[in-house]
Amino acid sequence: MDILNEISLFLQTSVQMGTHILFAIVGGIICERVGNMNLGIEGMMLMGAAVGFSTACATENPLLAVLAAGAAGMIGALIYAVITVSFRGNQVVTGLVLTIFGTGVAGFIGKSVSGNIIPQSVSEAFAPYSIPVLSDIPIIGKALFDQSFYVQLAIIVAVLAYFYMKKTKWGLNMRSVGENPAAADASGINVTLYKYVHILAGGFLCGMGGAYLSVVFLTTWQDNVTAGAGWIAVALIIFSTWNPLKAILAAYLFGMLKGLNFKMQGWGIQIPSQFLEMLPYVATVVVLIFITLRKKKEHQPPKSLGNPYFREER
């Protein structure tokens, strides 16, 4: 096998391994941009994975499966939003509880469908397809153009999120809510509405990310299928400095990590897997140090991240 082909197959797998994380990072960024840190990503992903999978089995309809998965993530996000926005509860604790809650709910729902396989109509809809000519581009052709539509959708979502945040009025309003909700409130932005909408949208994406694993990638229900991917996403939100375009890079770099370990085993190079597993977190810490030192404006976390907004306490 020639080296170009090997690289392109490697990237193809890496992109698949980064897709659920990409959904989760973008969902997390949208949520954090309105000033809410949501540690419940893992829980929302698992709820999406379980509900998406059982809906796919029950309805044999791929679109319904995706929507149901997103809705499941959104329900998780709604619980979170009610507690943190309306009741102004602690975001960290609420997020953690949402993860524990989501893991349990997913396990419960998954019990009834364990052993099932995704119906053919759904697996065919999400089967990888190759775009002629484009998929023959060396190195990146297979990674981008010989994939399931769901994989490509993740990239589209990330790009759209970027343009929404940076180029639209709503995006500007949303960011101002995350930076300084009091000022946003004074300028006539409905802070509560903005928080709710974006937290729910973020939950929707997290649910979709989970469903990618169960419905598209594995096509079978496995308990706790995300195996901690939600926590990686929380770290990679910082790594991508709250920028959805960089999230694409972060997610796929992560997708490459394990694959790189397998490649190196093939070459006879031994690296403890613990070392590789540590890398995303080390990279996140390095980025954190870097952005804190450089104080460059567009790389900073949203200023009011983690703080509940009390209009009366201005």
Partner: protein
């Protein structure tokens, strides 16, 4: 004011979650179906408790064990179980205590990592009988038990060796411990017994359970051109990868033909009811004593699943011949001459490796491509 409110909320939430997770394990065991009541009438006081590493419907390791528990229930013996127990000493002890408090006097712990906790509890409760799966520590009231699944793996190697066209077989392995190495070696010896040109390439995932990573490992091997995938992992993800790439697969633990019907050849399986019913019967008869149980094909403790229609022609004859030879005792997979990866003679011609040597195997036989992680 705001801070106080937050602190109160935080404390309340912690309390709430603390309670929730604390009660989790006991509800699990309460969910366990109550056993047949007629054993009380027979004067039988044995109640068997099972500590499981996974969920009883995981489609793999724990599900295979739970089939054993159900067989015990069918004998009219009461059972209880706790799922999803983490492999730490404190969690193991807590699970065992819960079962003993519920009246269990015969405790099975089904994963290697439960060893230290089981040893500790065996000391604390000398009147309770313990058995720990896949470990090596025993005492007066603590047995060890496991299945010689390497014999079934040898047979599955024959199936793979007959099937491969590329003479290149992939093996997704969890960790570089003797149990896994032994399986890889037996599988490779089986492959080479029918196809001396074929090699088995191994990738270690360093996890027993992570479906996505297991699939990624299989894809890496498939991208290299292997056309059969075998596995020592707890999920069917490697088999799904094989099916997706038009290759074939061999399962583990449990027959999994449903997971990848277009790729499934067979699986190397445990038949846990054999051990559990035997052991519980000894407890009922009063003949239970601490022992090291390690049986294979002959005792029907391990077996090869029925061959699927996808297997190469002539496979059945070869598998049957090898199975008969192993069961009758005239053949053992780990019999010399055995060479290591570099071609050094490790076991002399005609010499059978002892159970101890097989149990502690830490080198790859010739034909395996890959390195054991440090």
């Amino acid at each position: 004011m705001k801070k106080k409110l937050l602190a109160a909320l935080l404390a309340a939430t912690c309390l709430f979650t603390g309670c929730a997770s604390g009660s989790g394990s006991s509800t699990d065991s309460q969910n366990a179906p109550a056993g047949d009541t007629n054993n009380a009438a027979e004067g039988n006081t044995v109640k068997a408790g099972f500590v499981y590493i996974g969920k009883i419907d995981d489609g793999g390791y724990t599900q295979a064990h739970d089939a054993g528990r159900k067989a015990v229930e069918a004998m009219g013996v009461e059972t209880a179980y706790i799922e999803d127990v983490p492999e730490t000493v404190s969690d193991t002890c807590e699970a065992i205590r819960t079962l003993i408090e519920e009246g269990c006097n015969l405790i099975y712990t089904n994963s290697f990592g439960f060893m230290d906790g089981t040893v500790e509890m065996a000391k604390e409760y000398p009147d309770v009988k313990f058995a720990h799966c896949s470990g090596y520590q025993r005492s007066d009231n603590m047995s060890t038990y496991f299945g010689k699944v390497y014999q079934a793996r040898y047979l599955s190697g024959i199936v793979a060796g007959m099937k491969t066209q590329a003479n290149h077989i992939g093996y997704v392995a969890a960790k570089g411990i003797p149990e896994v190495i032994r399986g890889i070696n037996a599988f490779t010896l089986g492959v080479q017994s029918v196809n001396p040109d074929a090699t088995v390439e191994v990738v270690f995932t360093d996890t027993w359970y992570d479906p996505a990573v297991e699939k990624q490992a299989a894809l890496e091997l498939l991208n290299k051109g292997v056309d059969v995938i075998a596995q020592h992992q707890d999920t069917t993800a490697p088999q799904i990868a094989a099916q997706e790439k038009g290759a074939f697969c061999i399962g583990y633990n449990f027959p999994t033909a449903d997971a990848a019907p277009e790729a499934y050849l067979t699986a190397a399986c445990f038949n846990w009811p054999t051990f559990y019913t035997d052991d519980v019967q000894r407890a009922i008869d009063g003949t239970w004593s601490s022992r090291a149980y390690w049986e294979g094909l002959a005792a029907n403790m391990t077996y090869l699943d029925d061959l699927s229609a996808l297997c190469a022609e002539g496979t059945k004859e070869k598998v049957d011949a090898a199975r008969d030879a192993i069961i009758s005792g005239e053949f053992e997979p780990f019999t010399g001459p055995l060479y290591d990866q570099d071609g050094n003679l490790k076991v002399e011609d005609g010499v059978k490796m002892t159970d101890d040597e097989i149990w502690n195997m830490s080198w790859f036989v010739k034909g395996v491509v890959g390195t054991i992680p440090a």
